[in-house]
């Protein structure tokens, strides 16, 4: 084994020594033990690796991230075990309710999962996202959102392709492109998130929005035949309720 070969192999040797007993390293370790120069190189390399690993372990995680994960994903996580009796036991309504999640996620979840996850996604983005993208917000939509008493948008007011070019940001949620549009109403900053719905799901509340409040913020989620929506703010659920 040449020195270069030994260095190549030893580059994969973990600094905490976990690989000492791995036979794949035996030859290279033996070479390092018998060659003072290679041995010095190996010692420096391990010390360097340990220093880098220690520093990277100090990287702080955003304070709201854990809460956002739990707010979003946990609610959607409850699995429904489908037994042989499911098909006949489930009625048409339940099948329709599950159609969306089966199609989009290829795994069964509780009916309320997607909307709650979308709410968690929106709250998480309000807390952790870098808002204010490079695109100019779509003027007419923002103007109507900011008008006191104006209803939240429906499909007639959403030109998704235009918003993709002119909205604040384009994000990703469960495989969907999500457009964010930020707006101020009564001095409070809100973030509207819209993505193309995969069709009626029964997951989102049929009548009006559902409100989800977390420590970091609150979101209202609703849906129509074309789009799924969330409006989120860090100002609390009461501020959200005033939008509807």
């Amino acid at each position: 084994m040449t020195t270069q070969e030994a260095k190549f192999i030893l580059s994969a040797f973990r600094p905490n020594g976990s690989d000492t007993s791995n036979p794949a390293f035996a030859g290279a370790l033996q070479a390092a033990a018998g060659d003072p120069l290679l041995g010095e190189w190996f010692a420096r390399s391990r010390a360097h690796d340990a220093a880098v690993a220690a520093k990277l372990g100090e990287i702080a995680v955003p304070a709201g991230l854990r809460g956002a994960i739990l707010a979003g994903a946990r609610v959607s996580a409850r699995p429904r075990r489908i037994g042989f009796g499911f098909a006949w036991a489930a009625g048409f309504a339940a099948a329709a309710a599950l159609a969306f999640v089966v199609v989009t996620m290829r795994a069964p979840v509780r009916a309320e999962g997607v909307s709650a996850a979308f709410a968690g996604f929106a709250i998480g983005d309000v807390v952790n996202g870098k808002h204010g993208g490079t695109g100019e917000p779509s003027g007419a939509l923002v103007a109507s959102l900011q008008a006191k008493g104006s209803p939240m948008p429906g499909p007639d007011r959403i030109d998704f392709d235009k918003l993709r070019d002119t909205g604040c940001r384009t994000l990703s949620f469960a495989g969907h492109d999500v457009i964010e549009v930020c707006f101020l109403r009564d001095g409070t900053l809100f973030h509207l998130y819209v993505y193309r719905s995969d069709g009626p799901s029964g997951d989102f509340a049929a009548k009006g929005p559902s409100f989800i409040a977390r420590a970091a913020g609150a979101a209202a989620v609703w849906s129509d035949r074309k789009f799924d929506y969330a409006v989120a703010t860090s100002a609390g659920v009461d501020a959200l309720r005033r939008l509807f």
Binding site: F8, A12, R44, D49, K55, L56, A107, G113, L171, F173
Partner: protein, 182 residues
């Protein structure tokens, strides 16, 4: 998986997943999105995993796939063959340099490493994964992992050296009027 178990899964993995995502995505916002997306996918798919002992590996693999999937299709990707070999050998002062600079600067240096090397390097450093585990996680052959670790480390050392040399160029804060340096 019940809520308590899910919370434990999140608590055990969200921080290293975030660091992994941060090294890949290069900004905190996208990293946070990636981690949330990963747990969302777990919530909808991963609970079917029969061996919970493999949950960590599943999460890292999923996050990496989501990162690759989320990249812009038109983004320029660099062929590994085009990448510089990276010959920087570790020197004694390199260790001191890493110890002196803060963790954000080390992360920035890691983010400067070519993308193909960054994922195995981060898993090696942050998750203390073996080369076999890394190969499984990012789905590349073992030999490729070893090569990427070797070359990635060389690039990282160069990036850290640049980071250190640029910080040394910072001018000292001027003394207040009339004050003398001790």
């Amino acid at each position: 998986m019940n809520n308590e178990a899910f919370t434990q899964l999140v608590d055990a993995n969200y921080a290293p997943l975030y660091r992994f995502a941060l090294s890949l995505a290069r900004n905190a916002s996208d990293a946070g999105d990636l981690v949330q997306q990963t747990f969302f996918i777990w919530a909808t798919k991963g609970h079917g995993l029969r061996e919970l002992s493999k949950a960590k590996s599943w999460l890292f693999t999923t996050l990496y796939r989501e990162f690759l999937r989320g990249r812009r299709r038109d983004a320029r990707s660099t062929s590994l063959e085009d990448l510089p070999p990276g010959e920087k050998e570790p020197a004694a002062e390199d260790v001191d340099r890493v110890s002196r600079i803060d963790s954000a600067a080390v992360m920035a240096a890691l983010q400067a490493v070519d993308e193909a090397f960054r994922a195995p390097l981060t898993l090696f450093y942050i998750e203390d994964m073996s080369y076999q585990e890394i190969a499984e996680t990012i789905d590349v052959p073992i030999g490729t992992v070893m090569s990427r670790l070797s070359r990635g480390k060389a690039q990282l050392r160069m990036a850290l050296e640049n980071s250190g040399s640029s910080s040394s160029k910072v001018l000292p804060f001027p003394n207040p009027k009339g004050a003398r340096a001790q």
